[in-house]
């Protein structure tokens, strides 16, 4: 009986209870919180308070878009002042840049990594200005009649700014088969909150085509599956831009760091999701150092390719008839255009990752080149900065003109309506294009130029993937880490002390060798004594 009870005790304390503890541990390790549900208020639920078609003032035969604006402002008083204080109107804003102090920068005066700069190429670039006809320096920014209300508020999808007209819709003088004079009463009577394509007409096609610039903002978002974007998908919540880019009195939340610098008025996933959305401590605490986007946007340019590289230096080659030509890559994207040079495009691009604290540098027109590649808009941040997070970034690399004497980047004159005005796209004369571009921008040009590598940074925010496509741990926590370039901190699974690993493994082999030698000695002794 005693023996039985001893066996039972042994079984219990030496096997069952330890296994019990292990099972409880495994059970605890398997506990997961359910992610929090989100209840968002969408703009599509907004019910308009008036029927614009009832207003007599909108039933007139408008002569020009300016008259429509006047009509709008006759009821919506004060809105002109709101819009005219925004960067959408001014294309610049007061900014404080770390190390450079207060500057006023924006699309108006910044050099970019695509067509080098808007200023001086107004006919083409200013098509995306929310004004009417910013064709040169004479444009009157104080005239509220120059505001284009319709381009953002049109609900009929029939109002367009005409190509090459500096933001003007077609007039009876310029109308052609592609652009007709808008039916102003019809458009004006059907206005509402901006839809995706109101924003997209500029923000999707910037840089001369769909998805050229952002990589995560393109026309596929107008009608996409959850794989492309969980928020904007038609089989999901079908959100519009302004559902996240909340707007108060024409001040639209959100920052684009190719033109912004300051950590203000930004959008945060926390607007709808909390700061602990996973309801799971291990994953939630990543949020201290990792932006939501880093895990939830594993790739961008999911539907259509985005431009990753632009080499201006090869531009200007003409075919045997002295005409510009183009070549396509295997996917049908241009990889050469006489007017622009060589490109590299790609889809399903893995982002690069950078520390980012919401502030960015900008290469100003007054700056001289101190490093290569030239940093067009370096993102600030580092591990030890408590406000920095790891952010997925599209890096757009390029090669563009610079002044070899003054060591500055060059504003090129690219666009003109016809040949003979010195625009590169018509006359293919580098020197003339640089001279005219710099002159318009009131900057010195020495006459000697070459090409230099440049890099521009586009933090990725859109094209959030469904939950099951989220990055797995080992995408970062492994030897083959996506974060291989972020070396200013210790990342478990990626980093190790080689010395300790060698010493530890060496010690293990030593112990094993000792054990084997000792065991052999015992066996020999055992058989000898037998």
């Amino acid at each position: 009986m005693k023996k039985f009870s001893n066996t039972l005790t042994a079984l219990l304390v030496s096997l069952l209870l330890p296994i019990g503890v292990l099972l409880i541990t495994v059970k605890v390790a398997s506990l997961r919180g359910q992610p929090h549900k989100v209840n968002a208020q969408l703009s599509s639920e907004h019910i308009t308070s008036v029927d614009h078609s009832q207003f007599e003032i909108l039933q007139q035969d408008f002569e020009s878009p300016h008259n429509v604006t006047e009509a709008c402002l006759s009821c919506h008083t004060g809105r002109d002042e709101e819009i005219m204080s925004t960067a959408h109107w001014k294309w610049e804003r007061e900014t404080e840049i770390d190390g450079k102090g207060k500057v006023s920068i924006g699309k108006k005066n910044l050099i970019n990594n695509f067509c080098t700069g808007a200023n001086g190429n107004n006919g083409s670039c200013m098509r995306c200005h929310i004004g009417l006809g910013w064709k040169d320096k004479s444009f009157d920014f104080s005239d509220n009649r120059n505001i284009d209300c319709l381009v953002c508020h049109d609900q009929t999808d029939t109002y367009f700014k005409q190509k090459g007209q500096a933001g003007m819709p077609a007039t009876s003088a310029t109308a052609n088969s592609s652009y007709q004079v808008p039916d102003y009463p019809y458009v004006a009577q059907n206005v509402g909150l901006p839809k995706k394509n109101n924003c997209g007409i500029c923000h999707f096609y910037g840089g001369g085509g769909n998805n050229v610039k952002h990589g995560d903002l393109e026309e596929a978002l107008l009608s996409c599956t959850q794989h492309v974007d969980v928020h904007m998908s038609y089989d999901g919540p079908d959100m519009a831009c302004i559902d996240c880019h909340k707007t108060e009195r024409h001040n639209i939340k959100g920052k684009l760091y190719s033109v912004s610098s300051m950590n203000v008025n930004r959008i945060d996933c926390e607007q709808c999701h909390s700061s602990t959305p996973h309801n799971d401590a291990v994953i939630d605490e990543h949020y201290i150092k990792v932006a939501c986007q880093s895990c939830h946007i594993p790739v961008y340019a999911k539907a259509n390719a985005t431009k990753l590289y632009w080499d201006w230096s090869s531009a200007g080659m003409l075919d045997e008839t002295e005409e510009p030509y183009s070549e396509n890559d295997a996917d049908g994207n241009h990889n050469y255009l006489s007017i622009k040079g060589n490109f590299v495009w790609d889809t399903d691009v893995k982002p690069e990752y950078y520390w980012f604290n919401g502030t960015a540098d900008h290469f100003l027109t007054s700056d001289t080149i101190t490093e290569v590649p030239v940093q067009i808009n370096k993102l600030f941040g580092e591990y030890l900065d408590s406000t920095s997070k790891i952010w997925p970034v599209k890096v757009h690399r390029g090669k563009q003109m610079y002044d070899t004497e003054y060591n500055t980047l060059i504003n090129m004159k690219l666009w003109s309506a016809q040949k003979g005005e010195g625009a590169f796209w018509k006359d293919f004369d580098w020197d003339e294009s640089a001279r005219l571009g710099m002159e318009y921008n009131e900057r010195p040009y020495s006459g000697s130029y070459d090409f230099i590598s440049t890099e521009a940074y586009w933090p990725i925010n859109h094209m959030v993937s469904p939950k099951h496509e989220t990055l797995r741990c080992t995408e970062c926590h492994s030897d083959d880490s996506r974060l291989e370039n972020l070396t200013d901190f210790y990342l478990p699974g990626r980093d190790k002390s080689k010395a300790i690993d060698y010493a530890g493994i060496g010690l293990m082999y030593l112990a094993l060798a000792g054990i084997i030698a000792h065991l052999a000695g015992r066996l020999i002794a055992y058989f000898k004594n037998k």
């Binding site: 001893n6 066996t7 005790t9 042994a10 304390v13 030496s14 096997l15 209870l17 330890p18 296994i19 503890v21 292990l22 409880i24 541990t25 495994v26 605890v28 390790a29 398997s30 291990v282 605490e285 201290i288 150092k289 591990y383 030890l384 408590s386 797995r472 741990c473 080992t474 926590h477 492994s478 030897d479 901190f489 210790y490 478990p492 699974g493 990626r494 980093d495 190790k496 002390s497 300790i500 690993d501 010493a503 530890g504 493994i505 010690l507 293990m508 112990a511 094993l512 000792g514 054990i515 000792h518 065991l519 000695g521 015992r522 020999i524 002794a525 004594n529």
Partner: protein
């Protein structure tokens, strides 16, 4: 020879639970370290944390038990016979000589065991527990006391882990050097071991 109770129920429970937790911690820890793929990184992280907590609780119980029962004295190193124990392992054992220090319920551990276990209890376990919990809860630079990154903690924790692996290897081998090959193992399971009677 007489059958003597040498390990109490709690000691055996403690030992075997500790074994399971150390194996789990080792397997999961080295997966997190990047040495191999086994459970999957996320599973390993969760298992490692949970096992770490279990290990902490078990250690607290064990410390409490050792102090209350006075068994802690078993782990205090002694100066006598260290040399003869070393000599036993490097020569006596091959000549079938008896163990130099008889095992008794009052002194279960030989002088070398005392040194090594004392080292584990006073150094390796605390270092692993402290670095482990710092790893879990103070790994970001903006925590109340900033530990600029994980590196020092992680390296110490890895070092401790390698020492434990080596300990386990040698420990497993030395189990077979008891009175008979299986006697040590049997004692840790049943609590009883056949011991030479010593005159008190």
């Amino acid at each position: 020879m007489e059958k003597v109770k040498i390990y109490s129920r709690f000691e055996r429970f403690w030992h075997w639970t500790q074994m399971m937790l150390i194996i789990t911690l080792g397997l999961t820890g080295f997966e997190i370290h990047g040495s191999y793929h086994l459970f999957g990184f996320e599973e390993s992280v969760r298992l490692h944390s949970a096992s770490g907590w279990a290990f902490l609780v078990l250690t607290i119980f064990a410390l409490f038990w050792m102090i209350v029962t006075g068994q802690s004295r078993q782990f205090v190193p002694v100066r006598n016979n260290v040399k003869s124990q070393v000599m036993y392992y490097i020569s006596g054992i091959f000549r079938n000589e008896p163990h130099p220090v008889p095992k008794t319920p009052e002194s279960k551990l030989n002088p070398l065991q005392r040194i090594v276990y004392f080292g584990l209890i006073i150094l390796v376990f605390p270092v692993q527990l402290i670095t482990g919990f710092l790893y879990l809860y103070f790994h970001y630079p903006d925590n109340p006391f900033a530990l600029e990154g994980l590196e020092t903690i992680a390296v110490l924790h890895t070092l401790g882990a390698f020492l434990l692996v080596v300990f386990v290897m040698i420990h497993l081998y030395l189990i077979t050097t008891g009175h008979t090959i299986g006697s040590n193992l049997k004692a840790m399971i049943t609590g009883y071991e056949e011991l030479e009677q010593t005159e008190n």
